[in-house]
Symmetry: C2
Subunit: 353 residues, 2 copies
């Protein structure tokens, strides 16, 4: 099946040609409770499930609610599940669709910037299990991803910044394609003026294009795709320490924040281990101090963070810590094994800022 | 990765070259409690999980036990899970492997005839959910399937007959390849003399070859693979009525029995709707009366059985009943929609035998 990824200004006229291929009784939606749909868009669906989602509810119980919903509405293998929400919701809905009757079609309608530029492209689906982020999941591509930027108008600022961090990561991976480089275009974007949509859609489109290109070359992350994990080895540990300790704070500690902190730690190692120029590290640090604030962890968390990193699913071997580092902008280096003491040094650097 | 399917007379010397490619600390096994492994085979694994399995325990709880086991032993994406048991176990272990960290390698070592000729080939994995058989699952091929016929020496007779029913189904799908036809070779096999292994291994090999050929042509069951569902639309309803009503009897009501009864109902419809010769229907009926016994359901179950068929995941549209029927041996016809009254007629025929 041909896959579609599009940015649109009218959600109804964008979705209906995708959904018209399915029996109308087999077109159902799962939607985040924080998102409203217009009556005309709502009318596209024969059944609606509304879920309250956040990282702490990204568990098997929520996946089961989606399975139950599909069974109750007798959705068949010819049906389609449309997922409207942030990355937590689209990840879980994608997994539920990938495994319901061994796989039905699904469409992503991401409503947060993070989901638009990251989660909803690339076919990674899953949920948190055993205290580990996304430890259970499947690779399964949506039949379409529909980006509707007006959803961002009601997005809280910290959610916007969370998504922007993944865009910054994408910018670090790309040195070609546009002039100026994506990284420089992102740095020029005025984060104090996000209300005006102008200038954002082209950046979103560029980030999705970079990600799609990388994913197409390596859909199941055997090699090149690992470049997208920049910032995520350290970032996931920050997220997991909160999951383990039950400290999910309300909105201050979103995925993109963790990735931003993770990128700083990993750029620090990129400078010391691969001779990466210091400039992007300094630029990211400035953005952090100006917009994101410092991480809420402290040096005493260091040993627990390192223990969590040793369990990361990105590791090839038990207890080894595997990162993506950067030689320079546009030149990621995957499968870099670092020692616990190097990890400790990077955490110390981050916490000292 | 090259996939391997082999029949072997020495399990250790067959498994070790497959497993030697993996870090020894990352080679783990999940085994059915009814199966014993020799010390030399056991020594191939760094960790062991023993599960009691039967159809009533093919649920999310058992899948979670396997996920927990993999997490506890810090299995990484480079690890491999070996599944030793019947189809219930290999289906669940395959699903757990397919979804753990978005997919690790697994090897099937089927220990029942049914698992050897059916479940362990073809990459269908999953578990029962919401009262429906295998309603959650994934298509994911094992890296190897290792058939060790001596496991069958301790198999109870009804388990043997259950597997033989799937072999009979395979025989109905194939008219070429060998002389005499697979179907005739199966009818010549002496079910009163199963203790002597002679003659069985070539039949197992033929059945696996037929299935592998069909699966290779259509791995995710978009078309041709549906031929393998012969007997399963009616058969699954028989299994589900017991799951819903909590009547799993101990060993009398195995998957292959349900498929055999389902094949009789579907061959009855094949005769009346597609002009299939009556001979295979008569031959199957004789085998049923001589070896399998009549189904334990009765006419008063008919309406509930039909309601369950309308929810079958093989249906393209809600409430439609979709079967594979037979025009003649070797010529299955997929996607045959039958009416509830045709289904009722076929049930009546079966229950009248």
């Amino acid at each position: 099946m041909q896959r579609v990824s599009m940015i649109c200004t009218d959600l109804h006229s964008c979705l209906s040609p995708i959904l018209v291929k399915y029996d109308p009784s087999q077109v159902v939606v799962v939607r985040d409770s924080k998102v409203e749909l217009s009556p005309s868009v709502s009318a596209l669906f024969s059944a609606h499930l509304v879920l309250e989602t956040d990282e702490s509810r990204k568990g098997i119980e929520s996946v089961e609610r989606i399975w139950d919903f599909l069974l109750e509405h007798h959705v068949t293998r010819s049906g389609v599940l449309v997922a409207v929400g942030g990355g937590v919701l689209t990840d879980m809905a994608g997994f539920a669709a990938a495994t319901y009757k061994r796989g039905i079609a699904y469409v992503n309608v991401p409503t947060t910037l993070l989901a638009m530029v990251d989660a909803s492209t690339g076919g990674k689906t899953g949920f948190n299990y055993g205290g580990l982020k996304n430890s259970i999941g499947a690779f399964c591509q949506p039949v379409a991803t529909v980006i509707y930027p007006p959803f961002l108008k009601t997005l809280p600022p910290h959610e916007f910044l969370s998504g922007f961090a993944e865009m910054l990561k994408t910018g670090l991976l790309e040195s070609e394609g546009t002039t100026p480089r994506l990284w420089d275009r992102l740095l020029q974007y005025d984060l104090d003026q996000v209300e005006s949509d102008e200038g954002l859609s082209p950046l979103i489109a560029s980030c999705i294009a970079v990600k799609e290109r990388i994913v197409a070359a390596d859909p199941t992350e055997k090699g090149l795709r690992k470049a997208l994990n920049l910032g995520h080895t350290f970032g996931h540990a920050l997220e997991e320490i909160q999951m383990v300790n039950g400290q999910w704070s309300n909105g201050k500690w979103l995925h993109g924040y963790a990735v931003l902190y993770g990128m700083i730690a990993e750029l620090y190692l990129s400078v010391s281990l691969l001779g990466c120029p210091r400039e992007p590290l300094q630029q990211l640090t400035q953005l952090m101090l100006h917009y994101y604030g410092k991480p809420q962890c402290k040096c005493s968390d260091r040993e627990q963070l390192i223990a969590l990193m040793r369990q990361d699913k990105k590791n090839e071997r038990t207890a080894e810590i595997n990162c993506t580092l950067l030689r320079r902008i546009g030149e990621p280096v995957i499968n870099q094994v670092i020692t616990p003491s190097q990890a400790a040094e990077a955490w110390d650097y981050l916490f000292s800022l």
